[in-house]
Subunit: 200 residues, 2 copies
DNA sequence: ATCATTATGGAATGTTCATTACAAAATTTT
DNA sequence: AAAATTTTGTAATGAACATTCCATAATGAT
């Protein structure tokens, strides 16, 4: 009944996400987004409403994608808990390494959003989403780690919640370290050392 | 021979640093800096040249202060290496906890600068300073950890350089986690777990 | 007390930015 | 092929921003 869009929304969100990851929300202009997505200003505003709304959509998609990936790995009850955590961390390290060769920006949109928007009164909603996502991630991690503790695969010197916070912080540290330009071998060292902390 | 400044440069840098830590470089306006420091626009530009120059000075002062504090703790050769690392991590965790009660912003200017400026062509110089600082920090950590390995206090399953990268990443993770609003008990869990990774 | 020098307050400037308005173009349905 | 509807390109708008200007005020040296 009318003219269709000349682009696929997902692809636009993906391109915008890369731009936001590279430059952050504040340093990304509407012009930058047009450049990155190939859309004109009108199309962009027509389809997404505002820069902030597009950012919110990118963040939402990123969080969902990342959460689902994590759940798939951590929820694989057939495998030992330690292996699941190891797989998750190694996946992140190798993903960061691939970003380098692909010329894509390194780092994590959730981590960068905390760094950029934690105290930004105008973007409370985005931070709330990150907080919710973090809470869910911590919950899942703690559940899995608790199973590992019961099986004797994981130390019980620290509570499952404490270990979950540690793993979560390690991931953030890994991503920031990668964004700072650290070589992939070193990222693997970090992963290996992180795993040592969980040993009984 | 002329009218003196009505403020102390260090205090202004300190106030500006808090503002930059809270909002980042891009989201901090000249007006925000005037508000935070109590200076007028003219005084600010007269004394610091530009917003970017003031940021560079804040970053430099922050890096120096942080590095010196780390060196004092890590360089205390009278103490076991493990204790020195523990002291450093606990100091960071408690500093973050104090920030909450003091109403000051949490997080780390160096970490946030990596997140915000890693791919910013206009601020290569600031990133270079952070990179240099990180390299020096890693070097010191590796030296200290190597001593700990030789003394049997620290695992030698991972190279001293790898362990240094791990400790550095842990600190970044700790600071981002704190900035995300994590309670101080959990920060202590993270520290305790991080230390476990270094045990032989 | 006066001069030389510098700081300061407030207005002004030019730019960048997010967003909107409008007219033209495109596409599906009839 | 024409009508209805929506996209899209271009130009416009108004606000925010970094920075500068200028007149005035303050201070130390003489």
């Amino acid at each position: 009944m009318a003219r269709p869009l000349s682009f696929e929304r997902d692809h636009v969100v993906e391109a915008a996400t890369r731009t936001f990851l590279r430059h952050g929300l504040h340093a990304t202009s509407a012009e930058d987004l047009c450049q990155a997505t190939g859309l004109g200003r009108s199309s962009l505003y027509n389809s997404f409403g505002s820069k902030d709304a597009l950012f919110a959509e990118c963040l939402g998609a990123y969080l969902t994608r990342t959460r689902e990936r994590g759940e798939a790995i951590l929820g694989d009850t057939a495998r030992p808990v330690r292996d699941r955590i190891a797989t998750l961390l190694r996946l992140i390290a190798s993903e960061e390494a691939e970003r380098v060769s692909a010329g894509e920006p390194r780092g994590c949109l959730a981590v960068n959003t905390v760094a950029e928007l934690a105290d930004d009164a105008e973007h409370v909603e985005s931070m709330r989403r990150v907080d919710e996502d973090t809470a869910a991630r911590l919950h899942l991690l703690a559940d899995v780690l608790r199973v590992g503790q019961a099986a004797g695969e994981i130390t019980d010197q620290v509570s499952a919640e404490g270990l979950a916070a540690f793993v979560n912080a390690s991931i953030a540290g890994l991503r920031i370290t990668s964004q700072g330009g650290t070589a992939s071998d070193r990222l693997e060292d970090i992963v290996a050392t992180t795993l040592r902390a969980l040993d009984p």
